[in-house]
Symmetry: C2
Subunit: 462 residues, 2 copies
Amino acid sequence: MAHAVIIGGGFAGINAAKRLGRSGKVSVTILDQRNHHLFQPLLYQVAMAGLDPSDIAVPIRALMRPYRRVRTLLGRAETLDLENREVRFDGGVVPYDYLIVACGASHSYFGNDQWESHAPGLKSVGQATEIRRRVLVAFEQAERASDPEEQARWMTFVIVGGGPTGVELAGAIAEMARYALSKDFRTINSADARVLLVQSGERILKQFDADQAEYATKSLRSLGVEVVLESRVTNIGAAGIEIGETRVPAGTVLWAAGVQANRIGLQLKSPLDRAGRVIVRPDLTIPDHDNVFVVGDLAHTPGPNGNPLPGLAPVAIQAGRYVADLIVDEVRAENPPDPAHRKPFEYNDKGQMATIGRKRAIMQYHKHKKNGFLAWVAWLLVHIYFLSGFRNRFFVFLKWCWAYLTFSKGARLIIQKEWRQHESELLSPVVGSLDETYRHDGDTPSPRFESLTRADHINKPQ
Amino acid sequence: MAHAVIIGGGFAGINAAKRLGRSGKVSVTILDQRNHHLFQPLLYQVAMAGLDPSDIAVPIRALMRPYRRVRTLLGRAETLDLENREVRFDGGVVPYDYLIVACGASHSYFGNDQWESHAPGLKSVGQATEIRRRVLVAFEQAERASDPEEQARWMTFVIVGGGPTGVELAGAIAEMARYALSKDFRTINSADARVLLVQSGERILKQFDADQAEYATKSLRSLGVEVVLESRVTNIGAAGIEIGETRVPAGTVLWAAGVQANRIGLQLKSPLDRAGRVIVRPDLTIPDHDNVFVVGDLAHTPGPNGNPLPGLAPVAIQAGRYVADLIVDEVRAENPPDPAHRKPFEYNDKGQMATIGRKRAIMQYHKHKKNGFLAWVAWLLVHIYFLSGFRNRFFVFLKWCWAYLTFSKGARLIIQKEWRQHESELLSPVVGSLDETYRHDGDTPSPRFESLTRADHINKPQ
């Protein structure tokens, strides 16, 4: 029986594995360095304390439970040996007959990787909880700060990148400041938070038509977001961000700009595009290797108009299924057909949507467009529908109802790893120390907090 | 208006703050190094992937929302200056008229602090998610391992300490291995996992009567847990644990033994007991300071029979309320009474309970005892009832129904912080690296994973 190795448990990998598993004609190994499949379109809600990680992440192993011929391995692919048809990972070697590389992409800082620690991107659960922590800590710091400049800095949030993720983050922070947090502080007024969305181009959401982007811009502005267009980030540091020549002191900077494909693509020795994506043939294989497929965000898939297909979940899902069907067909055929005559991959455009705050969205499907509340309801239904696993759907739906009715956020936790580093362990990436769970940077003088009676921030005596 | 400072947002601190806030007669600052109040009795369920952190943790700030005279500060108390009546923390100084110290306790390794990295305790959300990660990674490592000894080591889980937490962890791991994970692996049979509960004394659960402990021991054994009595841990390392003279190779060791009070107690310059707890007077103050109270797990509170009251949530809750009432009464009185004539704190014993697996528990209330399924239902109702916040109650209840009906665990995520260290930041405790999110210890040779068709671990062809 032919054996397929799938690297990566994202939308492309999971969908390929399910279909191959269901066929019963191919045995499969799915390899991922994380144990969970992530429903990335809702990741910003984890970052914004609306959902818990387990609402949008499911163990790959649990998804593969029905398919006895699919084996899940937690591990990181290290070497793709196309000659000998095997994949070396951190726990051994797996030979393959078919290889599906679906390792996705991460953020690109355009050559300024030192910005990353000051401006996290949003691709993994770990990053989402880190962003959540930073945003919540910023409000706490503002509440503690005695220096007004310091306070203003903590109350400033900058999001770099005007794509759907940037728009969703900006809208969510603005709304959280206005509603969810509004009665919780005594010194600051959380609604005074400044939220900037910085975009280098002349408009945001360039994946959408201009009128849709215009609607989104207006909606963001009505929420109090400052949409800063045609502006380039020139520096990011601990104190804030420089936009062109302007320094903006900011306690929190989030990165939702460029995309950089996984470096494993380099090992395929095939042409890459500028973002590091592997340029694939119409059947999603690479030149000279009819049995090696690249799918999802790692692939540069030529689209009908010559542009590559966008890095969207539906593209990855369809590509994963296409490859699985193609492999199953060839394995089933008594005389395997010439790979040169494979039917090319065709993307069936499902349109796209983006949401702005808690009751507005934009959507676009070929020539059809919708925005406002109805689009938001559609966004909600589509995302609930595609969320994997009935349990997740059920709980996310309930949490959304709850949040909508109460204006509150259920997952406002600042959680730090409390662990000492231990070098020789598998577990080493998780560190931190019990003795420094909360550390002040020490430069600012210690203000005195007088008794509340002497301060004037108690505006309503009980 | 008098100002009270509360250090610590656990059961004692929160309950004191609520009552003081409700009175409107005292202004309050509540200081905690974490932003959330934690419902500790259910923390083991977060560690066992049954609940999410946000199900059992609520921002202190959100709990204090109704009380306009209560101010919440995120920060760590550093110096208690009893002379000048002020608390110095990492963000400034707060003066007080009344001080309530409620900083709780952490685990004691009996002088072997080097064991901590190999055998985490369970006191904070960070520790719970770390334990969850270790347990889930252990099964993944066992699935990957080619060496049978290595595999057996990863399949061995040792819990040190036979108190309620140890019993709950052991029962939950055994059940997870038998049910929730049973169909998810292809190489290992997760039900083969070995779970050891190690207790130095001659029986577990010494807080309970002997017959109740006997029932719990039998229940654990019926779940496959090896209850090892009268055995002392002599060493813990990366490879496993030494119990007396016996070496037990184990991939996961969890610590649920001794308790050590927060070191801040040292600053009160009052007598401490062996666990570092501050020995308080009948009104929960310390000698020579009628306005300084110590409550919760940090306090050694003499009980009716001479023994100190146990470190239970009801004790902390009642003590917090007692102190708040006492302060409010004094503030309200025109002629404050002599503190020497304060009515002493009296603990109203609410009994105690512990749960074993998914349908058995023991409970004890004065002379009344119950065990089995009905006790488990009672345990469930009591915990739902005391869980803070209607939202949390609602979601925990639903998740329990779900888990009970489906035998599944909803939060089986292995999440690593993916962050580069940046020294000069408040955020520094969270580190890790994008380049080493999953690292093998490198000592074992790389096994070859042959195509699944050649292996015999596919026992049921589809």
